[in-house]
């Protein structure tokens, strides 16, 4: 198909109210090939319907977004689009492509109505080479979409550490085949990069900083998270299931990431992330079939890795009960406990997690003394002036726990830390730790028997491949 080049010259021609698109299809001037505003990306390289939109007034962009046919690319010129409302896309094959994160900005700072920055539903969505600034709610929310690509984008808020910033920067949710690559998420009051209730995900080469939670993988299956950097968040990279969400998290790899200096004040206004202790590297909560390998952890004040049962957050097992008829995705092979009612399963259990080959330096020396769940306080009281062990496991649902005798501990949940040549490990009986005096932790030497297994039950997590993950 021959590429068609349209131009919406809303601002330049002083037109472009209701008729911007008609203008574009009928009479818009084709761009000069040397136009500096479209020097990086232009319609020339696009196959199929494409419109170039000049920065400035957002009306031409909004008119285009609300009238395009399926499979249309909107190329945004260099400069700032001052937005008065969210950019809403509800068309399959909508691609929004700017000139680079330092060149094209969608600025929602003067938006007076509630909304996200970019809000998209529609299969085969792409957003690339653009910054989304100061969105009232989420930076870029993509929902119920099969085929999502975030490439070289930035979601950020001007004020660092401000509780009134939007919740999530980059937020694909309830979507399939999601690629988040070479992007940045900063200053979100909840999670910078938040993958929720998704299936088949690659998160690669991103930088998350200044958020409460840097990077979250929630109720998601088949996710490969690698070569990312998380620093200066309250918590770096976390994996968890929440009660009641009808997809069971599983088969997640966190590998070869840099997770360091995550000691930012917790500025969340509430919710699950408000419970994250300052100085958390990684936790996996209510998760199974997770591999945490080859990552570099350093200078996370509370500690590097925690393996936690969902009951540590929500002790009421009925809240973790899911009717199987409502569950999306694969869970049948996981051996999840049945709920009290017929035809239900429960997903609070943390189990079958591999922690191997990670690097640890300088963490665990300053546990958070103020986190609402008092985890940091517990660690501080237990370790006194010694650094917290690199990997901490709560032992919930283990049939035996003993602080001194390895033979009197079980690894019923198949937590495997035997493959670590750096770092230390401890388990604790969290459910017995409601008040001082705390029972001592179990602190075995490498290879940390009985937690010395080195492989997941059911085989390693398989590689994730996505149709849109081709060299750029």
């Amino acid at each position: 198909m021959q590429a068609t080049r349209f131009a919406v010259l809303g601002v330049r021609l002083g037109l472009g109210l209701g008729l911007g698109v008609m203008l574009a299809t009928g009479c818009g001037d084709n761009k000069d090939d040397g136009d500096a505003a479209f020097a990086v990306n232009s319609c020339k390289a696009v196959t199929g319907t494409c419109m170039e939109i000049t920065s400035g007034n957002d009306t031409a962009l909004q008119t285009a977004a609300n009238t395009i046919d399926a499979s249309t690319t909107l190329v945004l010129g260099a400069g700032t689009f001052k937005m008065t409302n969210q950019l809403t896309l509800r068309t399959a094959g909508a691609h929004v492509i700017g000139q680079g994160i330092d060149k094209t900005t969608l600025d929602f700072g003067s938006t007076t109505t509630q909304g996200n920055g970019v809000d998209a539903i529609g299969d085969d969505f792409v957003i690339q080479d653009v910054t989304v600034l100061d969105a009232p709610k989420d930076g870029i929310r993509v929902e119920a979409t099969n085929g999502v690509t975030f490439r070289r984008i930035r979601a950020t808020w001007t004020k660092a550490g401000d509780a009134s910033n939007g919740a999530y920067g980059i937020y694909p949710v309830k979507s399939q085949n999601v690629l988040v690559v070479d992007s940045q998420a900063e200053n979100a009051s909840d999670a910078g990069l938040y993958v929720g209730q998704c299936q088949h995900v690659i998160v690669r080469g991103n930088h998350v900083t200044g958020n409460v939670a840097g990077l979250e993988i929630e109720n998601t299956e088949y996710a490969d998270v690698y070569n990312n950097e998380a620093d200066n968040n309250t918590g770096g990279i976390v994996v968890f299931d929440l009660p009641g969400n009808p997809i069971v998290g599983r088969d997640i790899r966190l590998r070869d990431n840099m997770i360091h200096d995550n000691n930012h004040d917790n500025f969340a206004s509430g919710g699950t992330v408000a419970s994250i202790p300052v100085g958390t590297g990684t936790f996996a909560m209510a998760s199974r079939r997770v591999e945490i390998t080859g990552n570099t952890y350093s200078n996370n004040g509370t500690g590097d890795i925690a393996l936690i049962s969902g009951l540590a957050l929500e002790p009421d097992t009925t809240q973790w009960t899911l009717p199987v008829a409502t569950v999306t995705g694969d869970y049948q092979d996981l051996g999840l406990p049945a709920g009290a009612a017929a035809g239900t399963i429960m997903n609070f259990r943390g189990q079958n997690i591999l922690v191997s080959g990670n690097h640890h330096t300088g963490s665990g020396t300053a546990p958070d003394l103020d986190d609402p769940l008092h985890i940091g306080l517990l660690l501080a009281a237990s370790y006194q002036s010694a650094p917290v062990d690199s990997v901490i496991y709560d032992s919930i649902m283990e049939s035996m726990f003993n602080s001194t005798d390895a033979a009197k501990n079980t690894d019923d949940n198949h937590m495997c830390v035997g493959g670590n040549t750096e770092g230390t490990f401890a388990s604790l009986d969290l459910m017995a730790q409601s008040a001082p005096p705390f029972t001592p932790f179990f602190r075995p030497a490498a290879p940390f028997a009985p937690f010395d297994c080195t492989a997941l039950d059911g085989g390693a997590v398989a590689q994730v491949t996505l149709p849109q993950d081709t060299p750029q």
Binding site: L13, L15, L17, G18, L19, M22, L23, G26, C27, Q62, T63, A65, N66, T84, N85, Q86, T88, L89, R90, T91, T111, T112, T113, Q114, G115, I121, P136, K137, E143, A144, N146, A163, S164, N165, G166, A167, V173, K174, D190, Y194, G196, Q197, L242, P243, G244, N245, P246, S269, G270, G271, S275, E314, P315, Q319, T328, P372, L373, H374, M431, S434
Partner: protein, 399 residues
């Protein structure tokens, strides 16, 4: 030439000019095209589902409006009202149904009435300077159409011109500061959202399950919401809306309205506050409010509401999914520093009440269409939660 014909000719000439200009921009009112004056009805309603959206609302010939005499509807355009309305920053609303000749809607006991292809739902949003006197100097802001095509409902947003003569197709929407005195006489300024066309799907979209096709659906035209009397004037007078549509031959399959359930009538609460609700009716009143204000998203088929697993539709009987002691999935700043959606007996500890009461951008519920607090609605939810048997909800073990 008589004045009416002259106006029609002028309208036609204007439309022709607009069409001629449309290819190369210009042509919308305000660009120097002569003003055709107020809408004049020259014949039957003109809805062509095969045509592109009309540039002007007048092209559909649905109704006329005059600030002195109000709305006048064309044949087969029937106004209606609903028992508990959606709050939209105190906007006044005039709703109407159009069904093409020879066709009728089909009754449904639970979901929206099923309308034949070519039907339209017409909803005009307007304000008056003083809402204690809503008929004095009303000013129309926007008219939203939903038109039934072969493949489902198509949303068409129109914004009224400054002269109040016609409305222009406006897919980009607008955010407009609107000031007025509210029903108590207090000055208010709303950051009123005229939604983008795609934002129609924020409220009007459902799917059977994750990954299934997304369908546009109607919200207000369900039997329980329509089951109330409306004063049609003239010889018809005050008649039940469902019975009236049946009598007109525009609705089939509906039992007598007196035998059907009705959603709670919110008007007394709007006027007097929730204290006038009998304790035995409090749950019904609150659930009717949640049903119309929240359940378009918060139901098991709501494309965006599904994510939260909070289901506020009137059929939901599961307390967890109603929000009782439920932690929100991803409320972000919307949680207001609170932990559970509903803490029975404690509205001030309940995220549901916080989000319905707050005007903090980023935390407001419903997601769209509210920048001001609906005082009587929030008070109703407050009283409803307060009346629940107290339960502190399980807090985490170390607290």
């Amino acid at each position: 030439m008589c004045p009416l014909a002259a106006a029609a000719a002028l309208a036609a000439a204007t439309a022709a000019a607009a069409l001629a200009a449309a290819g190369c921009g210009g042509g919308s009112k305000g660009d120097g095209t002569p003003d055709a004056g107020p809408i004049v009805l020259t014949g039957p309603v003109q809805i062509d589902v095969n045509a592109d959206p009309a540039e002007h609302l007048s092209d559909y010939q649905l109704f006329t409006f005059d600030a002195q005499t109000g709305f006048q509807f064309n044949d087969r355009v029937v106004p209606y009202d609903i028992n508990t309305p959606l709050f939209s920053d105190d906007a006044l609303k005039q709703r109407a149904i159009y069904i093409p000749p020879g066709a009728a809607a089909t009754f449904d006991p639970e979901n929206a009435l099923d309308f034949p292809v070519g039907s339209a739902l017409i909803k005009t949003f307007y304000f008056a300077p003083d809402l204690r006197a809503p008929a004095d100097r009303p000013a129309l802001v926007e008219t939203r159409l939903m038109v039934r095509h072969d493949d489902g409902w198509h949303p068409l947003p129109y914004i009224w011109d400054a002269e109040q003569h016609d409305a222009v197709f406006s897919p980009a929407g607008e955010v407009r500061a609107i000031s007025f005195l509210d029903a108590t006489g207090a000055p208010q300024t709303a950051n009123y959202l005229i939604p983008e066309r795609n934002q129609c799907q924020s409220c009007h979209a459902e799917q059977d399950s994750v990954g299934a096709p997304i369908n546009l659906v109607l919200i207000g035209v369900k039997a329980r919401h329509l089951n109330r009397a409306y004063d049609y004037g003239g010889t018809t007078g005050l008649v039940n809306q469902l019975d009236h549509l049946t009598a007109l031959g525009m609705l089939t399959g509906a039992p007598a309205a007196a035998t059907l359930p009705a959603a709670y009538d919110f008007r007394p609460i709007e006027a007097m506050g929730p204290s006038i609700v009998a304790p035995a009716d409090l749950d019904t009143a609150a659930r009717s409010y949640l049903d119309i204000n929240c359940a378009h998203c918060h139901n098991p088929h709501g494309v965006q509401g599904m994510t939260s697993q909070l289901f506020l539709d009137h059929t939901n009987t599961d307390l967890f999914h109603l929000g009782v002691c439920k932690r929100p999935g991803s409320a972000g700043v919307g949680n207001g520093g609170l932990t559970f959606d509903i803490v029975p007996g404690s509205p001030d500890m309940s995220i549901l009440y916080f989000r319905d009461d707050t005007t903090k951008v980023g935390a407001i519920m419903p997601l769209l269409g509210r920048s001001l607090t609906h005082t009587s609605g929030a008070a109703l939810l407050h009283d409803w939660i307060a009346a629940m048997p107290a339960d502190a909800c399980d807090m985490a073990p170390s607290q």
